[in-house]
C-alpha cells in the first residue's frame, strides 16, 4: 500500500504563511492498494486536493471511509469532483448516528440541501453507494481489507485498520485516550477503570503490530488539561499507545490549527525527547500534506 496525506490539519482549514510546510487542509488520507485501489480515509478539505489528481485515471472507483462526520472530516465531500462525473463510482462508508437514528446517507445528504449547496445529492452523476457500518464490520475494497473499531470522541468515531498483502496500517480518526471520570479514591473509580482498561486493550489489540499508525495528535501534554474531554490525544499518549500496540511507525496528524510549522516541529521534538523515542521507539513522524509513504 501507499499512503498520501492530503489534509493533516485538525478542526478547521488554516491556509497561510505559517502552515506552508505541513499544510492547512483538514483531514484526508489517500491510500492505494497494491492493485491501485483507491481508498480514501475522511473527506476534509484535503479531499479537494486529491480530487484534482484523479482526472488522469477516469473512470474512478473510490472507497471513502469516514471516521466520523464532524465538519473538518466531511467538508471536502461536496467538492469531490469525481462525484459529478458519470461513469465514476464512489462507495461511502461510515457510522450511524445513534442520537438521531440516521444512517450515513441521511447524515451526509444534509450537506447537499438547498441552503448549504447548489447541487442536490440526487443530481450527482457518479454512482454513489452508501454503507452504514457496524463496529468491526469487514469491507473488502479490491485487495484491501478494511475493518473498524469505535474510538473515543464526542461522536461515534471509527478507527480503521487496512490490510493488503500482509502489510497493514491503522488510522484513529479523532480519538482521545480514555480516562477515568472518577477521581482516584472515589467508590466508582476502580470499576470504571476496569472498563477503561478493557476498552484501551481492545483498541491496542485491534491495531496490534500494524506497519504504520496515523494518530490524532492535536495536543501537547501542556495543552491537554484545558482540553480534556474534547476528544483528541497528545503526542505522549499516542507514543504510549503505539508502544502498547507494538506498531512499527507512528505518524502524528490532526495538527492544531493555531500551531505554526515552527511550533509544530518544536513540540514534536520536545515530545520525542521527553518520551525517549530515539531509544525506545517507535519511529515517529509528523504527517505533512502531500507526503507519500510506503506502508
Amino acid at each position: 500500500m501507499k499512503l498520501t496525506f492530503r489534509g493533516v490539519r485538525g478542526s478547521i482549514a488554516v491556509p497561510g504563511p505559517k502552515t506552508l510546510r505541513y499544510g492547512g487542509n483538514t483531514t484526508c488520507l489517500e491510500v492505494r492498494g497494491d492493485q491501485g485501489e483507491l481508498i480514501i480515509l475522511d473527506a476534509g478539505t484535503g479531499l479537494y486536493q486529491l480530487a484534482l489528481t484523479l482526472f488522469g485515471e477516469l473512470p474512478v472507483e473510490a472507497h471513502l471511509f469516514l471516521t466520523h462526520t464532524h465538519w473538518d472530516h466531511i467538508q471536502g465531500l461536496p467538492f469531490f469532483i469525481p462525484s459529478f462525473i458519470p461513469g465514476n463510482t464512489v462507495h461511502i462508508y461510515g457510522a450511524f448516528d445513534p442520537v438521531d437514528h440516521k444512517d450515513i446517507r441521511q447524515i451526509l445528504s444534509r450537506q447537499f440541501e438547498y441552503c448549504y449547496f447548489p447541487v442536490r445529492e440526487a443530481e450527482l452523476k457518479a454512482t454513489i453507494t452508501y454503507t452504514t457500518l457496524k463496529e468491526r464490520q469487514v469491507v473488502q475494497a479490491g485487495g484491501v481489507t478494511v475493518s473498524n473499531i469505535i474510538m473515543n470522541h464526542p461522536v461515534l468515531n471509527f478507527g480503521y485498520r487496512l490490510e493488503c498483502n500482509g502489510r497493514s496500517m491503522f488510522f484513529t480518526g479523532d480519538h482521545e485516550q480514555l480516562y477515568n471520570i472518577y477521581p482516584p479514591g472515589e467508590e466508582d473509580w476502580a470499576e470504571y477503570q476496569l472498563y477503561v482498561n478493557e476498552k484501551n486493550k481492545s483498541i491496542t489489540d485491534f491495531m496490534h503490530g500494524v506497519d504504520l499508525l496515523v494518530a490524532d495528535t492535536s495536543y501537547t501534554i501542556q495543552d491537554y488539561p484545558q482540553k480534556k474531554g474534547w476528544g483528541h490525544s497528545t503526542f505522549d499518549a499516542n507514543i504510549d499507545m503505539a508502544r502498547a500496540a507494538e506498531v512499527k511507525a507512528l505518524y502524528f496528524t490532526h495538527h492544531e490549527p493555531v500551531r505554526s510549522d515552527d511550533d509544530l516541529e518544536r513540540v514534536f521534538q520536545e515530545a520525542l525527547s521527553r518520551k525517549k523515542v530515539a531509544q525506545y521507539g517507535p519511529p515517529c513522524f509528523l504527517a505533512r500534506e502531500g507526503l507519500t509513504v510506503d506502508v
Binding site: N152, H153, V155, D188, A190, K199
Partner: protein
C-alpha cells in the same frame, strides 16, 4: 401473552410507544440542568442515569442493538459510557428527558413514583447482596441494573394503559390481591410477560431479560446467584414498602436453594440492609417531587 396485548396495540404501536417513553421527571430535570452546563462533570450525568430505569433501559437497549453488533453484551451504564463516549451518552440522555419539564412538570402518577422508589430500593439491595456474596464490583453493578429494571414491565403497562393500570396497582395494594392475578384478569398480560417480551425484542443481556420476566419465579431465580440477589432484594424492598422495615420476620419465604446460596435467612438479611438504610434514603430523596410538580431542593444542589 404477546398476542393478548396485540389485541389492543399492534406490535408496531407497542414498540413505538416504548421508544418515546420519557425519563422520570426527577432525572429528566437533572439531565436538562446537566446538559446545559458544558463544564458539568460526566460522573454527575452517570449518577442521574444510573438512578432512572427508563433512561437506563433506553441506553442499554441502544448499545446492545444490532447497530453495534457487539459480541459481548453491555450490562451497565458505566460500560456504556466507556463504549460510546460521554458526549454521545449526554445527547442520548437529553433526547429522553421530557421537555415539558422546562416549563414545570405536570402532575405525575403516584404509583409510577412508587414503582421508581421500589426499583431503586431493589437495585441498591441487590448490589449489596452481591457484594456480601463476594462478587466483583462489575457483577454487583450487574445486579444493581437487574434490580433497577426488574419492574420495567410495570412502567411499560403504565404507558400502555394510562389510568387503568394505576387503578390496578391501587386495588392490588388496598385489597391485597396479587397484582399478576389482576393484570391477567383486567388487561390480559402481566408485567413480567411484557418485561420479558421487551427484553427479548431489545436484545438485552440475559440477566436483564430473566430479571424483567422472571423475578417472581423462584425456580428460575434459584438457578443463578445474580437472580437470587434480585429475587431476594425485591422481596425485602417490598416488605420495606409495606412498613415492615428492618423489623418484621419474613418467615421462610426464601426457597432452600436461595437460603443456601445467601448463607443467611431473610431476617438476618433484612437486618443487614439496615446498614445501607442511609444510602437508600439518599437515593429515594432524589425522587421526591413536590405537589406543584417541582423537584426537591436537594436535587438542584446535589
Amino acid at each position: 401473552m404477546a398476542r393478548n396485548i396485540i389485541m389492543v396495540y399492534s406490535e408496531t404501536e407497542l414498540f413505538a410507544l416504548m421508544e418515546e417513553m420519557p425519563a422520570f421527571p426527577h432525572s429528566g430535570f437533572r439531565i436538562l440542568q446537566i446538559t446545559n452546563d458544558i463544564n458539568c462533570p460526566p460522573k454527575e450525568l452517570v449518577k442521574v442515569i444510573e438512578q432512572d430505569p427508563i433512561v437506563t433501559m433506553h441506553l442499554l437497549k441502544l448499545v446492545n442493538s444490532e447497530h453495534f453488533g457487539l459480541a459481548k453484551k453491555i450490562t451497565s451504564i458505566k460500560q456504556a459510557v466507556v463504549f460510546l463516549g460521554i458526549n454521545t451518552m449526554k445527547n442520548l440522555a437529553l433526547g429522553i428527558a421530557p421537555m415539558e419539564l422546562l416549563t414545570g412538570a405536570k402532575s405525575f402518577p403516584w404509583s409510577l413514583t412508587s414503582i421508581l422508589r421500589h426499583s431503586l430500593t431493589t437495585a441498591i439491595i441487590a448490589r449489596k447482596l452481591a457484594r456480601d456474596l463476594g462478587y466483583t464490583e462489575t457483577q454487583a453493578t450487574d445486579c444493581y441494573v437487574a434490580g433497577l429494571l426488574h419492574d420495567f414491565g410495570k412502567v411499560a403497562l403504565f404507558k400502555l394503559f394510562p389510568g387503568r393500570y394505576e387503578a390496578l396497582l391501587k386495588q392490588s395494594e388496598n385489597q391485597g390481591i396479587p397484582l399478576s392475578e389482576l393484570e391477567v384478569r383486567e388487561i390480559a398480560i402481566t408485567h413480567t410477560a411484557i418485561g420479558k417480551l421487551l427484553g427479548q425484542r431489545w436484545q438485552l443481556p440475559e440477566l436483564l431479560i430473566h430479571s424483567m420476566g422472571g423475578h417472581h419465579d423462584s425456580n428460575l431465580c434459584a438457578t443463578s446467584p445474580f437472580l437470587i440477589c434480585v429475587y431476594t432484594a425485591n422481596l425485602i424492598a417490598d416488605r420495606m414498602h409495606r412498613g415492615a422495615m428492618y423489623k418484621q420476620s419474613a418467615g421462610s419465604s426464601l426457597p432452600a436453594a436461595m437460603l443456601q446460596c445467601l448463607g443467611k435467612d431473610l431476617d438476618a438479611l433484612i437486618a443487614s440492609i439496615g446498614l445501607i438504610a442511609d444510602e437508600i434514603d439518599r437515593a429515594l430523596l432524589l425522587t421526591t417531587i413536590r405537589e406543584d410538580g417541582s423537584m426537591a431542593a436537594s436535587i438542584t444542589h446535589s
